[in-house]
């Protein structure tokens, strides 16, 4: 219908049962979060009403089936209507399978939401198209019955949407990352199942043959990253994806990628920790881990998209950076971003153009130096199979040729200085990386009394909060960090220097990004809003904090 949509799937770590809900928000302007409140609630059980009654806004409607559970007007807040739809009774007209009640309910809620019948039926036909005709017919019939029932029993909905233009694309960040990775040249993905990263593997596996990407479900995360590094060493752009627990297992091999200067892209979709934590809930609690992963020091970059369209671009960029700087690059997302569906326009996802060959180094008759000292710290990279360029990639410290300086050479003065020089060569890449990664982005008026600082999925709710504040007359702007590390310190400091009151918004307990910002720039935000209950930020929470700090801190 050409609307902007945000869809959030909320579930629990059980396969059947529990309270599961899907929250969809649509508007004719861009929406960046699940928003606040609901205008329409389709309750399949009593618990749904109990849990979500406080989200209902005046003028909203609760759709339910009295055969499943009764609902009294006194159970609902003032101004909230209910619509009793006999979903089971209508479903029985077609089949004994009670699941068809969903199609009836979908028809009824579509009417209330302002979605035309032909649109919802088109979606159903697409979804059930591969099944037998009978199932399609049942769904089309039942949804039409539900739609017409609501049409004749409910009044008009003042919040109903209407068609705005051609259909948009709808995707979550995991799909966007998988697609962007393939577009950016990824040919190999090794992964071990872990919520909320698994759907990257699911999407890539479903497109493996069509896109020519080998997808390997490995025996564990240790294998996943080591396979990806092996494949990358042998000339294939490679990726692995996981959540914090799996990433903890990858830490040692990430250092090996840093030491052997082998590019690898690692997606870390964070969830509420520590340990197993709350596996189906969100958090931005792994930044410290990503920054510090691996013994010793080596260069890395951490990209942190805030929207699926940025996640697509970040995947392409991660492959470019990993290859340009021959070092691991992380894409930091979290459950909320990985699993929430957002609309994207086609022209927001551009093709990166031809992917360059990796077989670029030519033998020149001299001994090839895989780890040659260069101004940038990046050395010419040969690929196995190229004649005359054989070298050993070693996780031990090595000289320019790749020979170890860790055993009989260790401690010998010539090799002590060689070790120092090789450390400096590798670490020098960090300065180049800092100049190469995307700088922080300022959104909103350049001069505002309040500046939000944020990263990753929390940026979405901040954007919606800014729109809400603006409607109430409070001017604010936002600085967010598409790459949280490394930072081009001078540019970041200059940008931060122009702010007045700053409010840092991030979903963890200790303010991990705030600590990084302070470590890198010395900048300390005026105020901080933390969240670590497993739920994403809601715009109203940010609005409330912004108004609080603005009122007592007026300068």
């Amino acid at each position: 219908m050409g609307l902007h949509v945000f869809g959030m799937n909320a579930y629990q770590s059980v396969i059947r049962g529990g309270h599961v809900w899907f929250q969809a928000r649509a508007a004719d302007r861009r929406v960046y979060s699940q928003g606040d409140g609901a205008d329409l609630l389709y309750a399949l059980d009593r618990q749904t009403v109990d849990v979500h009654v406080h989200d209902l806004r005046p003028g909203s409607t609760v759709v339910h089936d009295p055969e499943k559970f009764p609902l009294d007007a006194k159970d609902l807040p003032a101004g909230v209507r209910s619509l009793a739809v006999p979903t089971l009774e209508i479903a029985r007209k077609y089949t004994t399978q009670s699941i068809l009640q969903n199609a009836v309910g979908l028809g009824a809620t579509s009417f209330l939401a302002g979605i035309p019948l032909d649109v919802i039926q088109g979606v159903l036909a697409d979804s059930f198209g591969k099944k037998k005709g009978e199932v399609v017919d049942w769904n089309l019939g039942a949804s039409a019955d539900g739609y017409r029932f609501a049409e004749s029993h409910a009044g008009a909905n003042e919040h109903a949407v209407s068609r705005r233009g051609p259909p948009k694309l709808l995707m979550n960040a995991n799909q966007a990352i998988a697609l962007g990775a393939a577009a950016g040249g990824c040919k190999f993905l090794a992964q071990y199942p872990m919520t909320p990263a698994s759907s990257i593997m699911h999407w890539m596996a479903a497109h493996s043959s069509a896109l020519g990407v080998v997808v390997k479900q490995a025996e564990d995360e240790l294998a996943s990253i080591n396979m990806a590094i092996g494949a990358s060493y042998a000339g294939v752009r490679s990726m692995t994806a996981t959540s914090g627990g799996g990433f903890s297992l990858m830490v040692e091999a990430m250092g090996m990628a840093g030491m052997t200067e082998t590019p690898v892209v690692i997606v870390e979709s964070q969830r509420a920790g520590p340990s197993t934590g709350v596996p189906t809930k969100t958090e931005q609690g792994d930044l410290n881990l990503m920054l510090g992963a691996g013994q010793g020091e080596f260069p890395r970059a951490i990209l942190a998209p805030s929207h699926p369209k940025e996640a697509y671009a970040a995947a392409i960029e991660a492959f470019r950076l990993a290859e340009a700087w021959q070092t691991p690059v992380l894409i930091a997302v979290d459950l909320h971003l990985s699993e929430s569906f957002q609309t994207v326009d086609r022209d927001e996802l551009s093709s990166p153009g031809p992917i360059p060959s990796l077989f670029t180094v030519e033998p020149n008759g001299h001994s090839y130096l895989r780890y040659q000292y260069t101004d940038s710290g990046v050395s010419p990279r040969a690929i196995p199979g190229q004649p005359g360029l054989q070298f050993v990639a070693g996780s031990d410290e090595h000289d320019e040729r790749g020979h170890l300086v860790s055993d009989i050479r260790a401690g010998i003065p010539k090799w002590v200085s060689e070790r120092q020089r090789m450390m400096e060569k590798r670490m020098h890449k960090l300065a180049g990386l800092a100049r190469d990664v995307a700088p922080p982005v300022l959104e909103g008026p350049t001069d505002a009394p309040l500046t939000f600082l944020s990263w990753g999925s929390s940026v979405g709710a901040v954007r919606d909060a800014m729109a809400e504040l603006s409607r109430g007359g409070t001017v604010s702007n936002l600085i967010w960090f598409p790459a949280v590390y490394p930072m081009a310190v001078e540019a970041v400091s200059a940008l931060l220097g122009r702010t007045r009151r700053t409010l840092l918004v991030e979903a963890n307990f200790s303010g991990q990004f705030g600590r990084l910002l302070r470590a890198e720039t010395g900048f300390v935000p005026t105020d901080r809003l933390a969240k670590y209950d497993g739920e994403p930020f809601y715009p109203h929470e940010i609005v409330a904090k912004a108004l609080e700090v603005s009122s007592h801190g007026r300068q």
Partner: protein, 299 residues
């Protein structure tokens, strides 16, 4: 002789390129270490097969024996402890035109890396894995290893090992390896033959090499093995007979069999991975040719 279980020799055009030989680095192992025999056996096997050195990748983990890739003139990847096998698998899948050889010790392969070992065998990845099994941790100066025998007194087990050792050959049989052999670093020619046939074998070839540690293992010495080893091929063993292979695998005592225990044919992982049918992944085009078509799925 046509044999579908044996890989076709690599097709090379133009002048013959150098085959694998010694590198400019001399091994740093203790004088008399069994691993000298293993590097010699691997070199001899590769020379015998005539595979150009740029088409060979030798992968290892960490440990005394894992320094092996540095001593030969092929490509090499000297990774981290226990992870030689997944790195080798990644290399194979990235370019299945390469000959990939995994190397390492018993701690690396049967201790910290045993999970990868088992899974690579059930996948029948077409690589050759040569373990230098000295039944002790050498580089960390003499602790018990997963193959140390019961009662073996080491720095970490001063009262003797109280765990059963892993039997690598039996584990390989149980895990689906399609070529399973045991060599002895005191018999380099025999070992080279086992490694060469392992490389020629299409599928996961495992060669466990009895490779004594002369510094930290005073029990399983060259003399210990010289008094006990006998060759399977001269004892009427049929390597196609899996039950017989199990019986031989269980022999460890006064007589220790070396040679080929078992060999069978099964499609490799690379055979069954459809994407690789279009040729080595590293040489395939990268990127999404028709982005618009993929985006249609998201409407």
């Amino acid at each position: 002789m046509a044999d579908s279980s044996v890989r076709a020799p690599p097709v090379t055009t133009g002048p013959a390129l150098p085959v694998v030989g010694k590198s400019e680095i001399r091994p740093t192992w203790c004088p008399g270490c069994g691993d000298f025999g293993v590097v010699a056996g691997v070199e001899m096997a590769l020379k015998k097969l005539g595979i150009p050195s740029h088409e060979v990748v030798i992968v290892s983990g960490i440990g005394c024996s894992s320094n092996l890739p540095h001593f030969l003139s092929s490509y090499g990847f000297h990774g981290i402890h226990g992870r030689a096998v997944p790195v080798a698998e990644g290399i194979r899948w990235a370019n299945h035109g390469l000959t990939v050889i995994g190397t390492g010790g018993d701690g690396d392969g049967f201790g910290i890396g045993v999970g990868h070992f088992v899974h690579a065998m059930r996948r029948n990845v077409d690589l050759t894995y040569v373990t230098m099994d000295n039944q002790i941790y050498g580089l960390t100066t003499g602790q018990a290893s997963p193959t140390s025998t019961m009662g073996h007194k080491t720095k970490s087990t001063p009262e003797g090992v109280i765990e059963m050792p892993i039997d690598p050959v039996a584990l390989a049989l149980a895990s689906g390896a399609t070529y399973i052999a045991r060599g002895f670093s005191g018999d380099v020619k025999h070992l080279a033959e086992l490694v060469a046939n392992g490389i020629r074998h299409k599928g996961f070839a495992f060669v466990d090499v009895l490779s004594p540690c002369v510094t930290y293992n005073k029990i399983n010495t060259f003399d210990f093995f010289r008094q006990r080893v006998y060759k399977l091929e001269s004892s009427g063993h049929d390597p196609a007979d899996k039950v017989a292979a199990w019986q031989r695998a269980l022999e460890w005592g006064d007589k220790i069999p070396i040679g080929l225990f078992y060999r069978t044919e099964r499609p490799t992982y690379e055979d069954l991975e459809e994407v690789l049918h279009a040729g080595p992944l590293a040489r395939q085009p990268a990127g999404v040719a028709d982005l618009g078509k993929v985006l249609d799925e998201f409407v």
